[in-house]
Every structure is written in C-alpha cells, then in structure tokens.
C-alpha cells in the first residue's frame, strides 16, 4: 500500500474498539504517511480538512458496527476509498478485546498485525476473468410511487425478495441490488465485494453496500463461485445509485445450479408486483 491516505478513525471512547481505531490510524500514518483527520473536528468544521480531503483519498477506520467514521464521511459527502472495521477484523480471527477501554498489550498487538496486513495488501484491484456477455440492452418496466420511480428490467433478470438481482449469461451470472433498494439506501458510499474464488450459497452474502443509512448485505440470488468483482463500483460506489442494473453490478459468479436456484426467484414482472406491495409504505 504505497498510496497516501487521509485517515479518519472513529476514535470512539465508549467501547474498547474505538481507541484501537485511533491506534490503527496512527500506525498507518506513521508507516505510510498521509494525514490524520480528527472526527470531532471534522464534525465541527469540515473546512479545516477541505485541502487534505481534496488531495488525499479517505481511509475510514471504524471501531464497531455503528460505523461512526464511515457515517460521518457520508454525512459530509466524502467518498471512502478504503476502510477497515476493528470489531469485524477481531471477529475474523476469533479474537476479542472485551473489558478495559484502555488498550492493553493484546489489543495493541492485534492492531499492529492488522495494520501490517493492511499495508501489505494491495489496493483492491479488478481481477476479472469474465468471458460472458452482459452487454445486451436492457428495457425497463417502471413503478411510480409518490415522487419515486422504480425501474425493473422487463426480462433477462431474476430477483429474490431481498431486492437483489441476477443476470445470467451462459454459466455466468452478475448480481447486484435493485433500483428500489438503491433508492431506499440513498447515496452509496462504499461497496465491499465478496472475495474472488469464494463459494456462495443461494441467499448467502455476496458483498455489502453501505450508505449513511445502512450497511446492506447483498443476498445472492444464486449459488456459485465468485469469478469477478466490479472494480467500477469499488472506485465509484455512486454507480450503484446511477445504474444499479448494468454498470452497478457487484460480482460475477460461475453458476452452480441455476435451474434449482431459479425456482426461488421472481422474474421482472413478478418482482414489480412484489414491489407494489413493498412500496406501499416507502417514504425514501
């Protein structure tokens, strides 16, 4: 990781992970250079960081799932280029730092390892081995509700009731979130794609899409192996808002058994009917 970042830790004081977010940011700053962004000062006066944030990509360091750093960035209209969450990282290695709010040797050692890993990891890059053709033009059906217009592809797409779609081409499929869900989430600030090569069950998690409102788990409509992730949405998460069904795809899978998966999916017109019920209470 040679690129310099502006590090925004949550620096939360009421949970052990908060102070560790600060430690992680300081260690990365020390090792790789960049700038530190104080969350309290940013909340008070964004102008203070206008120059820094204009020059450097933002690295959000959240302590826990409350995601205060990411949400603060979203509230200020700042794009998050990279992020890490201490609680999630702890969970991933089966560790915990329950107890004292003062970072102990165990917590500090964990953060040192975490930072070493982050510094070694390359900036997420596109590793697409796509061979399938997803370029065919899409025609849309629309549902109007109040001031909202929700688009649904007329054909070629299938949906689960979790507002995620799949578009199949041969034994490959792309997945993403529906126009309704992107409008529900509002401005998407970060997409976490699934790991390449991961095997995903039908209805398993195939990445997350985050806005200031929520962190949405993309529920895979199909089972398969992840063969590509969309670098476009990693670089520009707003693509999910702008073009959720085409350029805003999240991941590409090699299908395991689409005929079986299909039984539990809705086609475009069926999903549109489903949306009619769902949107009855939608207020954006």
């Amino acid at each position: 990781m040679s690129e310099k970042y502006a590090y925004l830790p949550c620096n939360g004081l009421d949970k052990p992970e908060g102070p560790l977010s600060r430690e992680a940011a300081l260690l990365m700053l020390e090792a790789a250079g960049g700038e530190l962004v104080c969350p309290v000062l940013l909340a008070r006066s964004q102008a203070r960081y206008a120059k820094v944030l204009g020059e450097l990509p933002l690295f959000a360091v959240d302590g826990c799932a409350t995601r205060c750093a990411s949400r603060l960035a979203a509230d200020h209209g700042l794009a998050v280029a990279r992020k890490v969450q201490i609680a999630e990282a702890l969970k991933a290695v089966g560790a915990s730092v329950e107890g004292s709010l003062v970072p102990g040797p165990q917590g500090l050692a964990f953060v040192r390892n975490l930072v070493a890993g982050l510094l070694a990891a390359p900036t997420p890059a596109a590793q697409s081995e796509t061979t399938a053709d997803f370029a065919a033009p899409v025609t849309y059906l629309t549902l109007t509700h109040d001031k909202f217009i929700f688009r649904v592809p007329a054909d070629g797409y299938y949906f689960n009731e979790n507002d995620c779609w799949v578009r199949v081409s041969g034994n490959r499929a792309r997945v993403g979130i529906s126009d309704f869900m992107q409008q529900y989430l509002s401005d998407v600030i970060f997409c976490t794609p699934p790991d390449l090569g991961a095997t995903i069950e039908q209805f398993g998690e195939v990445g997350t899409v985050e806005s200031s409102k929520a962190s949405f788990e993309v529920v895979s409509p199909v089972a398969g192996r992840v063969v590509a992730v969309n670098q476009g949405v990693a670089d520009a998460p707003e693509l999910v808002n702008e073009d959720p069904y085409e350029r805003g795809w999240i991941a590409e899978l090699e299908l395991a058994d689409f005929a079986a998966d299909r039984e539990l999916l809705l086609d475009g017109p069926q999903y549109l009917e489903h949306l009619k019920q769902k949107t009855a209470e939608f207020r954006g």
Binding site: K15, C64, A65, T66, R67, A87, K91, N160, E161, N162, E201, Q202, F203, G204, T208, K213, A214, S215, F216, E217, V219, E263, L264, Q277, K278, A280, E281
Partner: protein, 95 residues
Amino acid sequence: MAETTFMGVRRELIPWAPVIDYTKCNFCLECDKFCPHGVFKRQEGDIKLVVATPTNCVVFCRACAKTCGPDALSFPDKAETTRLIKELRAKGAGA
C-alpha cells in the same frame, strides 16, 4: 405492513428473526432506529427492547445486526432456512 408469505411460504412457518443477546445489548436502540419493519419494540424497565413481531422480519435480512456496536444480534443459519423453505414449498405450505 406484515408480509404474509415469503417465496410462497406462509411467513409464520419460517423461523427467521433476530435474537437479542442481553448479556451484550447496551440498549442503544440503533437496530430499532434502523429497522423499517417494526420487528423490535421499546419498553420500560431493565429490558428496554424486545423482538416483538418476529414475522415482520424480512427473511434473510440481517441489516440490523450490522448496526449493532456490541454485536448482540444473531440470526438463524441461512442454509438451514433455505432448506426449510424448499421443504415447505414442496409440501405446498403457501398462503
């Protein structure tokens, strides 16, 4: 609006809803603030939040757990739930 079926199966037959671990929950209420489906209910007393309407929970949705700082919410196994839904569909357990 409580959805009455999920994938053609009567919703009350699918045991999908969050479980609150009260040894971890700090009653910050972030989950309740987030959930648009009225799954949780706030109340007076020591236990300030309960899962009041589990059938309002969208099957396979775990979004509230992602708002939970102390990691106090858990959900059933997804693969197990999918298997159950398929079984119920085969038996014609629709609305």
